[in-house]
Subunit: 217 residues, 2 copies
C-alpha cells in the first residue's frame, strides 16, 4: 500500500518514462511542483520499497512492481474521467483536476464496478487508452496531425495536451474526438495547417496541430 504522495510520484515517473530513460530528478520536480531535494528524498524511499530502480546522479526507472502500480493509477484516473464526462456531463476540459483526486481511492471492487457501469471503455475523453485490470493497453495507432501531408485523411482520436485553454480552443473550432478531417495544405512559411472539417475550411497553427492525434484512413 502506497501513500497518496508516493502514488503521485510513481504516476509522474511512469509518464516521464515515455520521454526519457532513466527519468531525471529535475524533470520529476517540475511535474510534481516541488524541489529537486524533495524528489531525491522520495526516490530513495521508493527505491527502498523496490518500486523504482535508482542510480545516484543517473535517475530512476520503474521496477515491474512500480510500473504495475503506476498503470493501475492511470487506469483509475482515466475511468473516472469517462465517468465524469459520460455520466455527470462534465466537459473534457473540466475532468482532469477532479480525476487527480479520485484516482487515489483504494477499493478494487469500486473500480471494477465502475468499469462495468461505463461499459468497459477503451479510451478516456482525451483519447488516451485505458489499461485493463492486468495493466494491458489496447494498441493505438496515432499520428500527429502536424505529420500529415496534403490530401491525407483521418479521424481525430486523441489529444496530447490536456490543458483547459487548449481543449476549449478545440471545442470552439469543432475539432473534437471522432471528427473526420482532411489536410488541404500545409503552409510552408509557418507550418500551419489548412483543414477540411465537414465541408468547412479551417486553418490551425502548427502548435495546435502537434497536439491533435489522428488515426489515418
Amino acid at each position: 500500500m502506497q501513500s497518496y504522495t508516493e502514488e503521485n510520484y510513481l504516476k509522474v515517473i511512469y509518464h516521464l518514462s515515455e520521454i526519457s530513460h532513466p527519468v531525471q530528478t529535475n524533470a520529476i520536480a517540475e511535474r510534481i511542483q516541488t524541489k529537486a531535494a524533495s524528489v531525491t528524498d522520495m526516490i530513495k524511499k521508493l527505491s527502498e520499497k523496490e518500486l523504482v530502480h535508482y542510480v545516484k546522479y543517473q535517475g530512476v526507472t520503474l521496477t515491474e512492481k512500480g510500473k504495475l502500480t503506476a498503470i493501475n493509477i492511470v487506469r483509475k484516473h482515466r475511468l473516472w474521467e469517462v465517468f465524469l464526462v459520460d455520466k455527470l456531463n462534465f466537459k473534457w476540459d473540466e475532468v482532469h483536476e477532479v480525476a487527480e483526486e479520485l484516482e487515489h481511492i483504494q477499493s478494487n471492487l469500486l473500480i471494477e464496478r465502475l468499469d462495468e457501469f461505463l461499459d468497459f471503455p477503451k479510451v478516456d475523453p482525451h483519447g488516451d487508452p485505458i489499461p485493463d485490470k492486468h495493466g494491458n493497453f489496447a494498441e493505438m495507432t496515432f499520428v500527429k496531425l502536424s505529420k500529415l501531408k496534403n490530401g491525407d485523411k483521418g479521424n481525430i482520436t486523441g489529444v496530447s495536451e490536456h490543458s483547459s485553454p487548449f481543449l476549449k480552443h478545440l471545442e470552439k473550432l469543432g475539432l473534437t474526438l471522432g471528427k473526420r478531417v482532411e489536410v488541404v495544405d500545409v503552409v510552408e512559411f509557418d507550418g500551419s495547417v489548412e483543414l477540411l472539417l465537414e465541408q468547412e475550411k479551417l486553418n490551425i497553427s502548427r502548435e495546435v496541430a502537434k497536439h491533435i492525434l489522428i488515426t489515418k484512413n
Copy 2:
C-alpha cells in the same frame, strides 16, 4: 480549506454532538482510533481556525462554520453511498468504507452533478437523511422498533447501526428499508420482539430491535 484529517475530526465531533454537549476528548479519541493526546492537539488547531469552541478540560462544540463544514462532509458521504448502491450495485453493508474516502473529494461541481444524477435523493442506503447544499435536513420521524407496543405497525425507514455483520443479519431476515412490520408481542423476559413481516412471524432480539428505525402508520 481543511485537511483530510481535520475533516474527519469535524465529522466525528458532529456525530458525537448528537449524543453529548460538549463532546469529550476521550469520545473523539475512541471514534477516530487514536490517543487522547492527539485529540487535544487537533482540537487546539481546529479552535485556532474557529471551527470549534474549546474549553480546556470541558470539551468541544462546533462553531457555525465548523458545523456547516461537517454537514457538507456528511452530505458527500451519503450521496456517494447512494451512488454505490443505486448505480454500482454495492450492498448496503459494503458502502461505508469506500464512502469514508470519497467524502473528501473537493469539487463542488462534482457533488452537485452527482446529486442531480442520483435524482436528488433524500435518504442514504441506511435511511439517514441527506442534507441539501445549504445544510438543511428534511425532518425525519423515526421511532426505535424496540419502543413499539403490541399491535403497532410501520415501515422500516432506517438503521442506527452500520456495521457489516448487523446489516447482513437484517438482510438475511428480510428486514430491509421500506418493509412493513407489525409488532405481535414484546417478550417480557428478554425484551425480544415478535414481528409480522409479510405474513411471516419472526423473532428478533432487543439488541437488534434497538437499531431498527420505524416510521409508524
